[in-house]
Amino acid sequence: MRPMVKPRREKARSNTRWSSKDLIGLQGVPADEIRALLFASRAYVDVRSDVEDSVLHGTTIANLFFEDSTRTRTSFTTAAHRLRAHVSNLLGAFSSVTKGETLIDTARNVEAMGVRALVIRARQAGAAGLIAANVKCPVINAGDGRHEHPTQGLLDIYTLAEANGRLDDFDMKGLTVAIVGDIVSSRVARSNIAGLTALGARVICVGPAGLAPRSLESLGGRGGAVTVTHELDEVLPKVDAVMMLRVQFERHDGGADAQGKSSPAIASVREYRSLFGMTAERADRLKNGAVVMHPGPINRGIELDPEVADGPRSVILRQVTVGVGVRMAVLETCARALD
């Protein structure tokens, strides 16, 4: 177990603060502002009991999850509870997800009940930003379609920085991260790419051409910080971390079937696994110190073998732990931005 960090509010090393009431995404956010959230997170990661001096103490935070999620919602709920806030959960079928009018109306109604912040999960890209533009309270994006999942990006970056001893400055220069799998469907990948490249890391997107198209290189801007390859085996010895993504069968257009694990974008699970699955044998070819990450939930035996998921390189459960602290920091920081 890593040493506990005492709950204390760190002074950011730079002068830049996170100034927005909302966290919608990491794309286009300056490095110093991303660092401000990461610095703030250090005070909360590994806090195992309630924080005494939160501005959210006694307030209510609403989780508006228009799309199913258990772990992200539980993580936000735990984070809110540690800040001594109450949590209202509004889940899935309470509102017709096909009517964005209802999306805005629902958010406004919940805000009118006096909630202090909204945590939004939605099927549609841009939904969290749309709600943020229509309410006064802070809005935290907990995943909008294929667009962004910024708290996941932040917790991944935090975990990676910790594994590489960079918690003092979150300078990720010199690090190379492979994101492997269904990148085109992944909001986690988009947030990670934006955050990692802003902080100086290089990202290699690895996957079959249908899920990792060459056009993703544009996400790294003109500097070439993002490259795309379809050969995982070539990448393994070069990277400091592999971030394995779940094949999102349910997000593939054209009759995807989550139960049957079939997707029109891949020929078969067997083929996918043989080319892009992180097997024990592949994990052995990673360089010393390289870590294996996964945002969860894992399709065990497809993108990630159990021996690797539970093995020495895995920081997957550490990501989950860090996630609570990062979400505490994000809630606290955004709430304070309104004060």
Binding site: K99, L103, Q124, A125, A127, H147, R187, S215, L216, S218
Partner: protein
């Protein structure tokens, strides 16, 4: 519906008498001293036009003004045949909360259009002679300009069974299209082409290979990659035009074929080659595709969500070049009203389309004339004689200025400076991404059948 009566020819169809109740009828007009541009008759000179009883009675210098004549001073203005838009959505019947024949034609009149061809993606779809007559009847009661229905090529626009194309034609449908949807089956498409060929009219294709655009909401490019939106690739349009041109090559007597709202540079090459080979193929450009790119979708701007999508500057440039070299001969606004509520949905859920009738003319001028691609007279041809021929409106005397022809006339101030202001728009829906855009050129007077219809 009354029983279907036998109709001998399409000219038994309602004559579009136009009620235009809002405007006070003026019997005699004299449009004095304007630059009269009529590409159909190769007329381009400063002279007068006299109008009486709804028709043009004289075109010439220093025409007399009998007592009671209303004189319109057109010095410094262009006087052109009434503009024609072969591609609008008036939303009636079925979607009257977005637009009606009344409000849509008011927008047309405000923009200088005297005739519009309305697409059949209404509810129900315009796929029977009775519905074609319904459009003419509603237009006669409420329209501010002439309305010509385009009928569906297949029943219910489902792309499965061909519609009663001969009866629809005789009832007055000026062209055929399943616009909004592409006819996916090559077999159905070839049957529709054969049936349309028999009428002598035009099939207008909405070019979209839908298996390539499942879930797509904008152009497949760098912006869609960043926003996490499924992209609509250029090839989905090009493949359909390729397929259709191939079908036409194999037909003994191909029908006239019109590719609507072209968005991709590659499509223009296909049309250019087909026209070189003598096929009766035309292509259409919309104001937004001639000027705007996918960057406008940044921030999930639903007002810039349109089908086919806004693409990149290479496409914009190719489209302008296509107009300049004569490959693209038709301009259509694809005026597509949607309510503010619909456009406030999340991007992926919001409907596609934007309105264009009220400021199409200055946008065309900006993209094509001010850029040096074509001259004003050529732009007028693209907005008059070309669409009139496409939809057979020239046989009704529309699209040109001739003595004894209907007095459909547009007076244009080519130098008028103004700004797009949604609060001042007359159409029912204001879904344009161009609010605040500065424009040069404006239709100041729109005359339909001798009646001024855009009076404030």
């Amino acid at each position: 519906m009354p029983p279907l009566t036998p109709i001998k020819s399409r000219h038994d169809a309602p004559k579009n008498t136009i009620a235009m109740r809002a405007a006070a009828p003026t019997t005699c007009l004299l449009i004095r001293g304007g630059r009269v541009i009529d590409p159909a008759s190769r007329l381009d000179k400063v002279c007068d036009i006299a109008v009486d009883g709804g028709v043009i009675t004289a075109i010439g210098k220093k025409l007399p003004a009998p007592p009671g004549t209303r004189i319109l001073d057109a010095a410094g203005m262009f006087v052109t045949p009434g503009l024609i838009d072969p591609h609008v959505h008036l939303r009636e019947p079925g979607h009257e909360y977005k637009e009606t024949i009344e409000t849509g034609t008011a927008a047309a009149a405000a923009g200088g259009f005297t005739s519009v061809c309305c697409m059949p993606n209404t509810s129900p779809a315009i796929d029977t002679p009775e519905l074609v007559r319904f459009i003419y009847d509603r237009a006669n009661l409420t329209a501010r300009c002439r309305v010509f229905p385009v009928a569906a090529g297949t029943k219910g626009r489902k792309g499965l069974e061909i519609a009663e194309i001969q009866l629809l034609h005789r009832a007055g449908a000026v062209a055929f299209s399943d616009d909004g949807d592409c006819i996916a089956s090559a077999q159905v498409m070839s049957r529709v082409f054969a049936a349309v060929s028999q009428t002598g009219s035009t099939f207008m294709q909405h070019c979209q290979e839908t298996t390539l655009t499942q879930g797509a909401s904008m152009h497949a490019g760098t912006v869609s990659a960043r926003l996490g939106l499924t992209g609509w690739p250029r090839m989905a349009e090009e493949i359909i035009i390729e397929r259709d041109v191939r079908l036409l090559r194999h037909l003994r007597s191909p029908c006239r074929y019109h590719a609507q709202h072209i968005s991709s540079a590659g499509s223009i090459d296909i049309i250019r080659q087909a026209r070189r080979d003598g096929l009766p193929v035309t292509g259409e450009a919309s104001p937004h595709h001639l000027l705007l790119t996918h960057d406008l979708c940044e921030g999930y701007n639903t007002l810039a969500k349109v089908n086919p999508p806004l693409r990149e500057s290479i496409d914009v440039n190719a489209l302008v070049e296509g107009v300049a070299d004569g490959t693209i001969t038709i301009l259509g606004t694809d005026h597509a009203p949607h309510s503010a509520e619909e456009k406030s949905l999340p991007f992926e859920d919001a409907p596609m389309g934007l309105v264009g009738l009220e400021f199409a003319l200055p946008l065309y001028a900006e993209a094509l004339v001010h850029s040096g691609a074509i001259t004003w007279p050529r732009l007028i041809a693209l907005l008059t004689v070309e669409p009139a021929q496409l939809c057979g409106l020239n046989v009704l005397g529309l699209g040109s200025l001739k003595v004894d022809a209907p007095a459909d006339i547009t007076i244009i101030d080519p130098n008028a400076k103004w700004t797009i202001d949604p609060a001042k728009m007359v159409g029912k829906s204001k879904n344009t991404p161009l609010a605040g855009r500065k424009l040069t050129g404006r239709a100041i007077t729109t005359i339909v059948g001798g009646v001024i219809v855009n009076a404030e």
